[in-house]
Subunit: 109 residues, 2 copies
Amino acid sequence: MDAALKALAEPRRREILRLVWSRELPATDIADHFAEVTRSAISQHLSVLKEAALVSERRDGTRRLYRANADTMNELRTFLDDYWTSGLERLRDVAEADEARKRQKKGRH
Amino acid sequence: MDAALKALAEPRRREILRLVWSRELPATDIADHFAEVTRSAISQHLSVLKEAALVSERRDGTRRLYRANADTMNELRTFLDDYWTSGLERLRDVAEADEARKRQKKGRH
DNA sequence: CACTTACGTAAGCAAACACTTACACTTGGC
DNA sequence: GCCAAGTGTAAGTGTTTGCTTACGTAAGTG
């Protein structure tokens, strides 16, 4: 999940992800979409996205077809939703652990 | 919004953000929470979060009190929600723009 | 006014990142 | 078997990032 967030932090990768959102696309077609950078750069971005499970790859002859992985994106979505909402509930525990840490630190020093 | 996503990509910053989720906290208290890194490192993280408008800062004497900025986080949330859902609808436009680009590229070359 | 508390900030460093160019590898058609 | 198409990968480069130590500074305290 960490990897997914990190992968999404890069604008180019978000754009790639959008391209393969609902249809499979071969690497070359994806690269063609970006005039500014090399095919190689896109290939590396695709690796990152694949590593983060944000896209899946399917081989067809010499081509590799990429498509966004809806499962991972839904997981990420619920992770963030939890993040938004859980802050409040878990706060008491965090505060308590914090106090303990503080006392320990002071005691040591 | 880009800055916010990038800021969230860092685990430490997410943890900081959670600490100030629903209560103000002075920088020192935040730093005390992290035994592994320096106060300076946390200060720099706070700068990034502030730059991304994910936290707001209020001064009180020598102290600076930080608190998560709910507005920005809601904006980010809707941005992502749009991102999840809009892919489908905007896809046709992207595809069309893409075809145009492709034709142009071939024409030039 | 000296001293302490609570901070940011500058400088430097190693690791990570987004690229590039050049090359290697598969797959399918002739 | 040879060649072209489609693609990953290795190596190198400049920039950014997350950190450290050291110093600077503003606000309260005696």
